[in-house]
Symmetry: C2
Subunit: 426 residues, 2 copies
């Protein structure tokens, strides 16, 4: 099997085999490694869950004859950065396209470049070279986040939602009224980026109090071992046991003069001051809840202040801190609503943790003078079951845990660019 770029279009041989990866990008953060890869091994079916693999050039739905469609699946996988060996093992088990089946052996792929972003693209470059023979072709971290977010905001339906009063409500994005917006990516730390268009952005703020703080402090305080375990704990907890509320100070009263209800948190973890208790006397559930609320609220507040600073009404949130977790989203939403007096809205991206990896993925350029990054092709209902040129993100394809503890997601893209640019045949 081989893949080569011809006039900036993708040409794919007929010989495909299981688990072949045609495009792969990686985002190596402080805590998590996120991988996005496009695989053409899927068998066609007439439903969205198992789309037909297009093995030949297809006309794109809008009639643009210059571009062709490669259907398949885009997978989303993550690993803990501290367990990078698992990631290496995973990649070495995959057959990296262009080289054929034998190329999943490390000695055979040493000419392959893959798009990589995040600080770990620098830190682990030698490791990937040594273990997999892969060269990490670095894409700037903020640029990747923005490209990934724009990609999702423009191309995917049911990608964006608000979370208010315990209810998710999907938001239809008007592409003509998308910019400017504030992108808040909550990884180990938090980046806040003002986005004005494709490739037009500025990192305007951030905070070190992010997902790494939640898990770091959470592990120290509760002895839990994973982020999801800590979230589960928080779900069962009551933050009022440890947080000092306005009512605790005001004798049960509101501080109505400044609009603070008696139940508002005056001081996170403030009750742990005056009581004669030690760590062991508190329930891990309550600690996890206070911690989650402290961090979520803080992020919501700083995000709002930055949105206000630039007059941005839309705040899109990504990053693996959120994890579709009700209380996290609720706290961030309430914080933004409270501080903005209802003027600004927190909106969540379903593919929250993969913005950077997706953005790096989009960075594959074809060789033509008119670079054409991967594009989602809008779903054409009439053709849906026959052509498999579908493309929207399916509700049902998200959050599937595989044996690596990875979240496995998928979508389909049209492709019209060279894969592994500058690679040579092996």
């Amino acid at each position: 099997m081989e893949v080569k770029g011809i006039d900036g279009k993708l040409e794919k041989s007929d010989s495909t085999s299981a688990d072949e990866i045609s495009h792969l990008s990686i985002d190596i953060g402080g805590s998590l490694i996120k991988i996005v890869y496009f695989s053409t091994n899927s068998k066609c079916s007439t439903n969205d869950e198992a789309p037909t693999l297009s093995k030949e050039r297809q006309e794109v739905p809008n009639g643009d004859l210059n571009h062709h469609i490669l259907s398949g699946r885009l997978y989303f996988v993550k690993f803990e950065t501290s367990k990078i060996e698992d990631c290496i093992k995973f990649l070495s088990s995959k057959k990296l396209q262009k080289c054929g089946a034998q190329c999943h052996h490390s000695h055979a792929v040493d000419k392959i470049k893959i798009k990589a972003t995040g600080g770990g693209a620098f830190k682990f470059a030698d490791l990937f070279k040594e273990k997999l023979g892969l060269t990490l072709d670095k894409v700037e971290e903020m640029e990747s986040l923005v490209t990934g977010a724009n990609f999702l905001l423009k191309a995917a339906n049911h990608e964006v939602y608000t979370y208010i009063g315990g209810q998710k409500e999907y938001v239809q994005i008007d592409q003509n009224d998308l910019y400017p917006y504030l992108l808040v990516n909550i990884g180990s730390g938090v980046s806040m980026i003002k986005v004005d268009g494709d490739g037009k952005f500025q990192r305007v703020s951030g905070t070190s109090v992010g997902g790494g703080t939640f898990l770091g402090l959470g592990k120290l305080l509760t002895k839990c071992q994973s982020f999801d375990e800590l979230l589960e704990l928080s779900h069962q907890g009551n933050n009022r046991v440890i947080d000092m509320l306005v009512g605790d100070i005001y004798g049960g009263l509101d501080y109505s003069k400044i609009g603070l209800a008696s139940t508002a948190i005056a001081s996170s973890f403030g009750k742990a001051i005056s009581e004669n208790k030690e760590l062991e006397d508190y329930k891990p559930e309550d600690i996890a809840r206070s911690l989650l609320r402290m961090i979520s609220n803080n992020i919501g507040q700083i995000a709002y202040l930055n949105a206000l600073r630039f007059g941005l009404k839309r705040i899109f949130l990504g990053g693996f801190f959120i994890r579709d977790h009700a209380y996290t989203m609720d706290t961030i939403s309430v914080a933004v609503d409270f501080w903005s007096k209802g003027e600004a809205k927190a909106m969540f991206l379903r593919h929250e943790g993969f913005l950077g990896a997706l953005g790096a993925f989009m960075n594959y350029k074809d060789g033509s003078t008119d670079p054409m990054p991967p594009q989602l092709v809008e779903q054409q209902p009439a053709k849906r079951s026959s052509s498999c040129i579908v493309d929207r993100i399916h509700n049902s394809t998200r959050v599937q845990e595989n044996e690596n503890g990875a979240t496995d997601c998928r979508l389909r893209v049209s492709s019209s660019f060279k894969i592994y640019d500058e690679v040579k045949r092996c």
Copy 2:
């Protein structure tokens, strides 16, 4: 001995005795009780440390014959709110003026009102009534903070300083160019107030991540028993052991594209994620340091964002979180400088923790049509040693721990108002 208001001026009898308190105000916060009281028991000397007690009307230095000077000392004492019984004991041991010596017995002072602020003025009103017979005359919390801050900013020399590169530098405040400014009061929680003039202000923001969070989380994580112990621990610690730095993610490199040095904190407590360590494996010193830096930096950032929002160049910081602690001030200063790109300055108030209590103290009004709150009288160098009509806050008078663990400070005021308004003779 008696005190009465005559035409809005203070008339004081000749009979004074030790430990008599002529004015007292109290600020009862979530963690700390702060008391400011004016005592006329001091003996005169020719140096600033032990000023002459003026026992008769004196002409104020500016020649305003309508006002008179009562010299004495203004004391600043604090207690932990959880040990309010110590505070009650302290107050019951004092002789509350107007009633004479016998009035320090609780049964004799039940007609006395004292100015009180903070949420505890509501919560503990009944306790003060029951135990001391004192009625707490409530002054709104934000109003008290602003009045206290304005009082210090206008009247006191050597009150305000910056902390840059390990150096304190006192700032001379131009009273004609004081407003607007941002007041950041860091108690258990944090209030941020835009101040536009005397009595003209708006609480524009705040955060629940404050001094209560530092001590609360600090106690849980290090088992230390007091705020000062935790600060002392932090002084010896190294936050890089637990915080995830930019260099930890980027393989030792800076993330120069967005101006983050390799030593910048990417994720507070982020290293505690990936390492196979438990709480016991970390030094309490390092934990305390990370915690202090996380909270100080966060406050500095939110303060800056609010200053920016309203175009405020001056940020004054008060509250008992600071405690003249080098690393705290350094972190806040660096945060404000970093985020504002040098445009805004963090300035610290030496009487940091007593803004609210001082403001409540200023709330004593005389009965005239032209209310005259207590005023500091500017120091007159020529008269300094002879008249004792001095007034500035002395460097040497701060941070004297008494047996209650209280910070004991003093300054002298001119007084021209009724004390304990609406009190009756006993």
